[in-house]
Subunit: 159 residues, 2 copies
């Protein structure tokens, strides 16, 4: 088992793009279970596929189990079990020695951009880039499992 | 993806034991999801562990995806997610060229014995051994996922 410790932020759209010079990759993922106590995700990215089980989020940490699976299985699992897939382009940006993953969503979550940083401990210090805006780590609406059920474009219509 | 085509039977306890001369192994398994549309099982047997996702049962067939996982992960997944484990000793018996798996349950399902045969097609013909009793393929109470929630010993008390 691994443990995932992660913080999430919205970004300042006008200035972050100058920073996005690193690797970018397209990701598609769906959920076999979106139960907050046990999310089960299937992700396809760059010809590799993973089945990932995550436990209950406690603060910014949660248990994580990840297994690589054949891409044919991933596509079949998504077709059979995941009604709504999330699609996004992930940009990798190294800032002050730490990797930031900036997810630019498309499809039903078009317009949403989230920056994530993975930490080695809950209280690890790190430097915030200038393009970082409000923290949303604890806001369940931004959980990818919830974005698959209640996508960002629906919020905009409702608000 | 594989497809699992399986028929299940109760057995005549007094005569089946003479047939059980083959391999026997202890199995422990629990469920991360018991949703009938997508059961997610963790099984530990003879030092190997598997994560198995099964789709909705249609008649006697359903989609099946199985991945071997580290035994440490299996035990952690069972501890974290599977409230009730099933324990059984599986006896393998070859009869007229087909493999029968006879599961002798223990723990909360003590007293229950089920014989299963896996088929290559829905209408495959096979010979019933003398120790086979009533078919229970369609009886959801005998699904292992349901036996983890509503074990056999509880039925006996209720009936």
């Amino acid at each position: 088992m691994g443990q995932e410790i992660e913080r999430k932020f919205l970004i300042k759209k006008d200035i972050w793009k100058n920073a996005a010079k690193g690797k970018a990759s397209y990701l598609k993922q769906g959920y076999i279970s979106t139960d907050p106590g046990k999310t089960i995700r299937v992700r396809v990215a760059e010809g590799k596929s993973f089945l990932t089980i995550k436990g209950k989020t406690e603060g910014i940490a949660r248990a994580e189990f990840e297994y690589e699976i054949p891409i044919e299985d991933a596509n079949e699992l998504l077709n059979l079990f995941a009604s709504n897939c999330i699609e996004k382009v992930r940009h990798e940006i190294v800032y002050d020695g730490k990797l930031w993953e900036v997810d630019v969503f498309s499809g039903d979550n078009e317009g949403l951009i989230i920056a994530e940083i993975e930490l080695n401990s809950i209280d690890e210090k790190f430097t915030l880039p200038a393009w970082i805006d409000k923290e949303v780590s604890g806001d369940e609406r931004y959980f990818n499992s919830n974005l698959s059920k209640n996508p960002f474009r629906k919020w905009e219509v409702e608000s």
